[in-house]
Amino acid sequence: MLDLKGYGPALLDGAIITIELAFLSLALAVTLGLIGASSKLSSNRVAKGAATAYTTLIRGVPDLVMMLLFYYGGQVAVNNISDLLWEAYEIDFFFQFDPFISGVVTIGLIFGAYMTETFRGAFLAVETGQIEAARAYGFTRWHTFRRIIFPQMLRHALPGLGNNWQVLLKTTALVSIIGLTDMVRVAEEAAKAERMPFHFFIPVAFVYLALTAGSELFIKWLNKRANVGVVQGG
């Protein structure tokens, strides 16, 4: 049996942090993606421009640089705001910018940009006739979105969503660099202390492999479910 030299519980905690981080960032990314895609497709020029700037900006900058900027810069920004509030209004406002929040915000923002593109394509794949029909039945815009567009666009978005999720999962490893004790961080500390890099990194690599392989199966199953009743060409 694998002997983890007493690092087993810490590694398990780290794995839970990784999974929490991944799901929270996914939730943020999907929300931002839906907002981004709607603004990109809207006729409002300001919204369109903002969404385009957002996706272009994010895709030009490495995730690690963004994360370092949010983590180190976030704290400085909070300090400045706190000083300002204290001097001007004597309001005591302060919080520590911790690596978990910076990780969720950064990964969410980055993948929000990728999700924007995925959802934009999926929204466009819904036939306009469907939307016109819904409007003709007197559906409100919200109703059209919830009942007609959203369920149909989900089917088209799934493959892209699945790919983004797989990349997101692997990106969570980066939070170990800004000091969050996820499983990569624990493994790194253990590997250095025990001078056994293979012994600790390879099990962690296999946890990631299991997560990506499991997600792959789940996405396949979802895809199958979402495409029930669709006759596939080919």
């Binding site: 900006l57 895709r59 030009g60 900058v61 490495p62 995730d63 690690l64 640089v65 963004m66 370092l68 900027l69 180190y72 810069g73 400085v76 692997k170 990106t171 969570t172 490893a173 980066l174 170990s176 660099i177 990569v184 493994a187 790194e188 590997a191 250095k192 001078r195 056994m196 890099p197 293979f198 990194f201 390879i202 962690v204 690599a205 990631y208 492999l209 990506t212 392989a213």
Partner: protein
């Protein structure tokens, strides 16, 4: 020059010639690392992709396993395993390899190359698999042997289909290379981290480096668009 820019330049203690030199050295390391790993990765990926499409599972399965392992785990872990692991290989410190792998640049180059080769193999495999069957039949009918079919028909036509996905991989690699800074390489991100810790100025240090990465990304996007236009010029609509 507008006043506020002049004022900012006068008060500026961070962006001096020294820090610019640091950023420049970082840029050189990043470009070297990314360029070398991409070139070596691509050279390895072509034969790997061909073996991956083999019908014999004994040939294709090992390549599948390689790409699966490297695509299913984070690059950071691969880098750590190679960087920390190489020193632990028994006896390596007596061979001449130790002189090479003691520098952090080479373990990082190895990790990046193995990673990009795995992704590129799958991209090229996808392109090879989607070669229209008629093209292969026609090549066979002309009496071309396997090697000639590969060289003249399948690979050139696969390259056209792969270039779009490959451009994404190149940009992805540029962005992933930022993690080289964690194994003490002073690449662009490493330079930014040094400058941040010297001046405690996160916004200046990281936004500046983000702009450099952005410029690099846009240059790559532009170059690949040119390349795509060149490779796909036979499909261009006549009008317009």
């Amino acid at each position: 020059m507008p006043d506020f820019i002049a004022q900012w330049l006068n008060q500026n203690d961070i962006f001096t010639a020294m820090t610019m030199l640091e950023y420049w050295n970082g840029l050189v390391s990043t470009v070297q690392l990314v360029f070398l790993s991409l070139v070596i990765g691509l050279v390895c990926a072509v034969p790997l992709a061909i073996t991956r499409t083999s019908r014999n599972p004994l040939v294709s399965l090992p390549v599948w396993l390689y790409t699966y392992l490297f695509r299913g785990t984070p690059l950071l872990i691969q880098l750590y395993i190679i960087y920390y692991g190489i020193a632990q290989i028994p006896g390596i410190q007596e061979t001449f390899w130790w002189g090479i792998f003691r520098e952090p640049f080479y373990p990082a180059l190895l990790a990046f190359t193995l990673n990009t080769a795995a992704y590129t193999t799958e991209i090229i495999r996808g392109a090879i698999m989607s070669t229209p069957h008629g093209e292969i039949e026609a090549a066979k009918a002309y009496g071309m042997n396997w090697f000639m079919r590969m060289r003249r028909i399948i690979l050139p036509s696969a390259a056209r289909r792969a270039v779009q996905a490959y451009s994404n991989e190149v940009i992805f690699m540029l962005h992933s290379s930022a993690i080289a800074s964690v194994v003490t390489i002073v690449d662009l991100t490493g330079a930014a981290r040094n400058i941040y810790s010297r001046f405690y100025a996160p916004f200046d240090a990281f936004i500046f480096v983000a702009l450099i990465y952005m410029v690099l990304t846009f240059i790559l996007v532009f170059a690949f668009r040119k390349l795509e236009n060149h490779l796909l010029r036979h499909q261009r609509p006549i009008s317009n």
